[in-house]
């Protein structure tokens, strides 16, 4: 029931918004999100006292498809991320000028609903449905509220590319599904069926799944849709993509790929880990050469997810837990970093870093908060980025120390490009008139920084939540 209501609240809100006036769309969305947060946390507490949050009823019994929602630690964590990121996005944009805002927030809420569905899904087909369905709202968000001269080309590329990937996931899931005596998409049945396949078959099944996830995460060389899409999307869309949407893919690795095809990955999945590791370094190089803030953040995001992917695929406790933790941390960080971008872009009218400078003098608090976020981005200890990234590197080290060393290069390169950007924008003497941050902007950054530090200093509870679930 808990899971169902968290899934339904945003969906219903989106329908409500589509049929309402533009007046207080943001308030409605915020209210709904706060309600979700309360239900989620209350639900988690209630679960501790024995209430079952899960739900399952058959939809198409002939193929074993049921509407089944889980309410375990990882699912809760990702839902929490979705809600928090959603809150951040809506809170941030509530005082912005947005045309036909009711539909705008409607699409956002629908997107959240689809993603929550994917995170909660205890049924492979349901996961796939939500995974695909999430494309539609973001597609309209980009198309209708995006900007830039190549908007339609970029949107088209994004949509087709990600669709292309996820269709391979369908093939893989169907292959596993077909191998059962009594077909069922139920999670445990799928896991068992996947494990029963030969290593060779598992390798192929994994390949299909990984291509889907690799496109969405994205991992080199499947990432070429991402920077331009981030660039053209409205800032809220970019946040949705970076903070939550790509987590569907990494979460898919944890929830579906690893349990089903662990043997296949170990024997025939080296290429995927190699690609992930290459992705980390390659994206760092890309970020190093960017002149624009948004692009730099975009590439740094690619580097982070490459690390998540590599760590998860090396398949140890540290990898799985570290991966989940890093997803959460990166989600919050992504929202915050793009808020920083939006703040600067609004005041300068562009985001070419080399043409800025001295923001620190004008807005010391802003600089302070941003610096902590930058440090989280380069995985400084006592920020949440460190806990996740370190666990992932540990996990990767179990697989190969050489890969760890290569992926670890991002430790150096990340510091180089992040500090280069920070220096260009915030430090230096020349000052440009810089309007003080609004209360909303300040609040959202402060909360993000607080979360980042609290999670970095005391990640224990969160880590306990997502342990030993498999």
């Amino acid at each position: 029931m808990i899971a169902l209501s968290i899934f339904l609240i945003p969906l219903l809100t989106s329908f409500l918004l589509f049929n309402s006036k533009t007046g207080n769309a943001a308030k409605t969305a915020l209210t709904s999100l706060i309600l979700m947060l309360l239900v989620a946390i209350g639900g988690r507490v209630a679960t501790a006292y024995g209430l079952t949050g899960t739900l399952s009823f058959p939809l198409i019994s002939s193929i074993g498809f049921s509407f089944s929602l889980l309410w375990d630690g990882p699912a809760f964590l990702m839902v929490l991320l979705t809600i928090i990121a959603g809150l951040g996005i809506v809170y941030f944009s509530q005082d912005k000028e947005i045309h036909s805002s009711n539909r705008f927030y409607g699409w956002i809420m629908m997107m959240l609903s689809a993603m929550i569905g994917a995170f909660l899904a205890g049924d492979a087909l349901l996961f796939y449905l939500c995974y695909e369905w999430a494309l539609i709202p973001i597609f309209f968000l980009i198309l209708k509220w995006g900007h830039g001269e190549h908007l339609s080309k970029v949107t088209m590329r994004f949509f087709l590319y990600t669709l292309f990937g996820s269709l391979f996931m369908m093939l893989s899931l169907l292959y596993v599904h077909q191998s059962m005596a009594t077909p069922s998409f139920d999670m445990s049945a799928m896991w068992a069926a996947g494990k029963a396949l030969t290593a060779g078959e598992q390798g192929w099944v994994f390949a299909g799944l990984f291509i889907a996830f690799a496109v969405k995460m994205p991992v080199f060389p499947f990432h070429s849709w991402q920077p331009s899409t981030y660039d053209h999307a409205p800032i809220q869309g970019t946040m949705l993509l970076a903070a939550i949407m790509l987590k569907m893919a990494t979460f898919g690795l944890v929830r579906w790929a690893i349990p089903m095809t662990a043997v296949g990955i170990a024997e025939n999945g080296h290429w995927a880990i190699l690609l992930s590791v290459i992705s980390v370094v390659y994206a760092s190089f890309m970020a190093l050469t960017q002149k624009r803030l948004k692009m730099m953040i975009a590439y740094s995001s690619v580097a982070h997810v490459g690390m998540i992917s590599a760590g998860i695929l090396s398949n140890t406790d540290q990898g799985t837990v570290g991966g989940l933790f890093e997803m959460f941390s990166h989600g919050i960080l992504a929202v915050a970093m793009f808020v920083v971008y939006a703040i600067i872009e609004k005041r300068y009218g562009h985001d070419r870093m080399q043409e800025m400078g001295g923001i620190r003098t004008a807005a010391p608090a802003f600089a302070f908060l941003t610096f902590i976020l930058v440090m989280c981005n380069v995985a400084l200890p006592f920020t949440s980025g460190f806990v996740g990234e370190f666990l992932l590197l540990q996990s990767l080290a179990h697989y190969s120390l050489v890969y760890t060393a290569i992926a670890g290069l991002s430790v150096i390169l990340g510091a180089a490009y992040m500090l280069r950007g920070f220096q260009a924008m915030f430090l230096g003497g020349n000052t440009h008139a810089f309007e003080a941050l609004s209360r909303n902007e300040k609040n959202i950054l402060a909360i993000a920084v607080l979360l980042v530090i609290v999670l970095g200093v005391y990640p224990h509870s969160l880590l306990q939540l997502i342990q030993n679930v498999y």
Partner: protein, 629 residues
């Protein structure tokens, strides 16, 4: 009593938080007093903790918080109290509180005063974490934390991009070392299954599970140490780091942070002892650094740059000692070095303060009469570093040399050379600064003054420490009779491998005399050139002799790195971005779309609207089917 250790890092942290969030309303005096008092409080606690270790060393663990527990990976926020860590916290908080006090005066006119004090507090917090952590990961927290503080403090005057560049360079080069440390940790965890000192070394001996990986593990840890402690080839950031305010140079880039590498190697002495190869590497890196640092310092004219290269060189001495197995001696040198180098930096700060920001010793001279306290304390520091009995530097440096003589003659010769150079460049700087005629502008001369009390008190305290600090490590020859020989050695034996020496008393005394004689000769040499002959120092443009130029240009390492790493990496990423990212990958994606359209374009003429064509296609299809079936 040991439980109190948890409070030691807490006080500076509180100071940081308080000044950051509420400091704006406080006057500079109050804020500075709070910051200093909190560190001093920690110092008092550190003394208490230290005394518990005096009577029979034993390691105690104090757990504060559950931190990261994932499967077999179990790491807590937990502190270790043992001789090594208690010694370190003692001089960190001690020297730290003095420098805080000094900063109140030194930074008084700076608009970023509050910021400065809070950063210093934060730095002390992280430095304490580094040495108190009972596992490698917590050490790493402090390790990175001090790195960030170093970044913020080097670039403290952020409006000048030269400072920011130096800060960034320090951070990124440190990160190169950090990668080594991360990999080392990973290797140790994978092979030994734990990162806790207790499992690895103190309570257990899991470090032995490294087996054939021991050398690799030790080398990786040492790479981390190289970055933080500015060892060749990762040393170039330290001289640049002098861009920060002088107290920062004293605290971070002389006394404490840069010795974290020595702490790391000393802490893992069990590992380095079993790996001959790694120890060799440590020795040679140390020797090369010592000689190189000393040689560059001979030609530098910036008072802080000279001290910086001197620090590099002294750190090289310490690593040479570590590599030769003299862990306790290295730590001894860390402590004495902390005293006299902090003193020297603070003294130079006092000079710079008086000179209105001027740092070039060619523009100074004759300051002796204007600032007597600074002069005398600076003299103590200079003698101490030159290695003259009975000042602190003599004891520690001499034992390193003695140990080198026992082990490897080449190392000994090179270290001796570096020591000789040290005496020369220190006195060169000393004479040029305080003696002779004043060479600056009239305006500067007019403003010359002795520094305020907050600045001179720390100088005096440190000067005393530099004078008597060496007594804790009397060599056998002197201390034997009083039963206090190697007091520090014995104390530290609770934590790290003991240094073994088989040297006879006669040799020891002979060596001490020789090294002092050489130092004395060098001092006279410097006196001869700069006081007696008053040879003017060459201006930058006049430096022509190739050797001089090479040294003055710091062996061209900065340019080399620029051409070897920075430029190629920038070019590589720009190239990858243009060719692979934009042309190849995007081209592939868009190309696959064109491919589908291409199929259509090719087939379009077939769909020409003619019934005949369509019929023909049907017939051809039919015939094909007939043959296929």
């Amino acid at each position: 009593m040991e439980k109190l250790v948890a409070l030691i890092p807490l006080f500076p942290l509180l100071g940081f938080l308080y000044i950051t969030f509420f400091g704006k309303n406080q006057s500079k005096g109050t804020a500075g007093a709070i910051a200093t008092a909190l560190v001093a409080l920690s110092f008092v606690l550190a003394i208490l903790v230290f005394t518990t270790q005096l009577h029979g060393a034993h390691a105690t663990f104090v757990k504060v918080l559950d931190w990261i527990h994932v499967g077999s990976f179990q790491v807590d926020l937990s502190f270790v109290v043992d001789p090594l860590s208690s010694l370190y916290i003692l001089f960190i908080t001690g020297v730290g509180s003095l420098i805080h006090l000094y900063s109140i005066g030194y930074m008084h006119d700076d608009e970023g005063f509050h910021r400065f004090m809070s950063y210093l507090n934060l730095f002390v917090f992280f430095m304490l974490l580094l040495v108190l952590g009972d596992n490698l990961l917590l050490l790493f927290v402090g390790w990175e934390g001090v790195g960030v503080c170093s970044f913020m403090l080097i670039g403290f005057w952020y409006k000048d991009h030269a400072n920011n560049d130096a800060a960034k360079k320090a951070f990124v080069m440190n990160r190169v070392g950090d990668l080594g440390l991360i990999l080392g940790m990973s290797l140790i965890f994978v092979q030994c299954g734990s990162l806790n000192y207790n499992d690895l070394m103190i309570g257990g001996s899991a470090i032995g599970h490294l087996g054939k990986w021991a050398t690799l593990g030790a080398v990786l840890l040492f790479i981390g140490a190289m970055g933080k402690s500015a060892q060749f080839p990762l040393h170039t950031w330290l001289p640049d780091a002098m861009a920060g305010p002088t107290p920062v140079s004293a605290l971070i880039h002389a006394a404490t942070m840069v010795t974290a590498g020595i702490y790391l190697v000393a802490r893992f002495s069990d590992l380095f002892t079993i790996s001959e190869g790694a120890s060799q590497l440590v020795t040679w890196a140390g020797v090369i650094t010592a000689v190189m640092g000393a040689s560059i310092a001979l030609t530098q004219n910036d008072i802080k740059k000279v001290l910086a290269y001197s620090t590099v060189s002294q750190l090289g001495f310490m690593f040479a000692a570590l590599g030769m197995g003299a862990y306790t001696i290295a730590v001894f040198h860390v402590v004495t070095h902390a005293f006299f180098k902090a003193l020297l930096f603070l003294g130079s700060g006092s000079v710079i303060h008086a000179m209105g920001g001027e740092q070039d010793i060619r523009r100074m001279g004759g300051l002796k009469s204007h600032m007597p306290t600074t002069y005398w304390t600076f003299l103590v520091g200079t003698i101490a570093i030159a290695g003259i009995f009975p000042f602190a530097g003599f004891f520690s440096k001499d034992q390193i040399l003695a140990h080198a003589m026992e082990n490897n003659t080449v190392v000994f010769a090179l270290l001796m050379l570096a020591a000789a150079g040290t005496a020369f460049y220190m006195f060169r700087m000393f004479y040029l600064t305080f003696h002779g005629e004043f060479r600056g502008t009239h305006e500067q001369e007019h403003h010359l003054h002795e520094s305020p009390k907050t600045m001179t008190i720390p100088l005096v305290v440190l000067a005393i420490a530099s004078t008597v600090g060496g007594f804790m490590g009397f060599p056998h020859a002197i201390g034997h009779a009083m039963h206090i020989e190697h007091a520090l050695d014995h104390f530290l034996s609770g934590s790290i491998e003991l240094t073994h020496s088989h040297m006879s008393v006669a040799t020891e005394i002979a060596l001490a005399l020789i090294s002092m004689a050489i130092a004395g000769m060098m001092i006279l040499f410097a006196y001869n050139i700069y006081i007696k002959k008053a040879t003017p120092v060459l201006e930058d443009a006049e430096i022509n002799s190739p050797l001089h130029r090479l040294l003055w240009k710091k062996y061209g390492m900065d340019e080399l790195y620029d051409n070897l790493f920075r430029k190629p990496i920038d070019a590589l990423s720009a190239g990858l971005y243009h060719w692979v990212e934009q042309k190849m990958l995007l081209g592939m994606v868009d190309g696959s779309g064109d491919a589908a359209k291409g199929i259509g374009r090719i087939l379009q003429p077939l769909h020409n609207g003619q019934i005949v064509t369509y019929l023909l296609a049907i017939i051809v299809g039919l015939i094909a089917l007939i043959f296929a079936l």
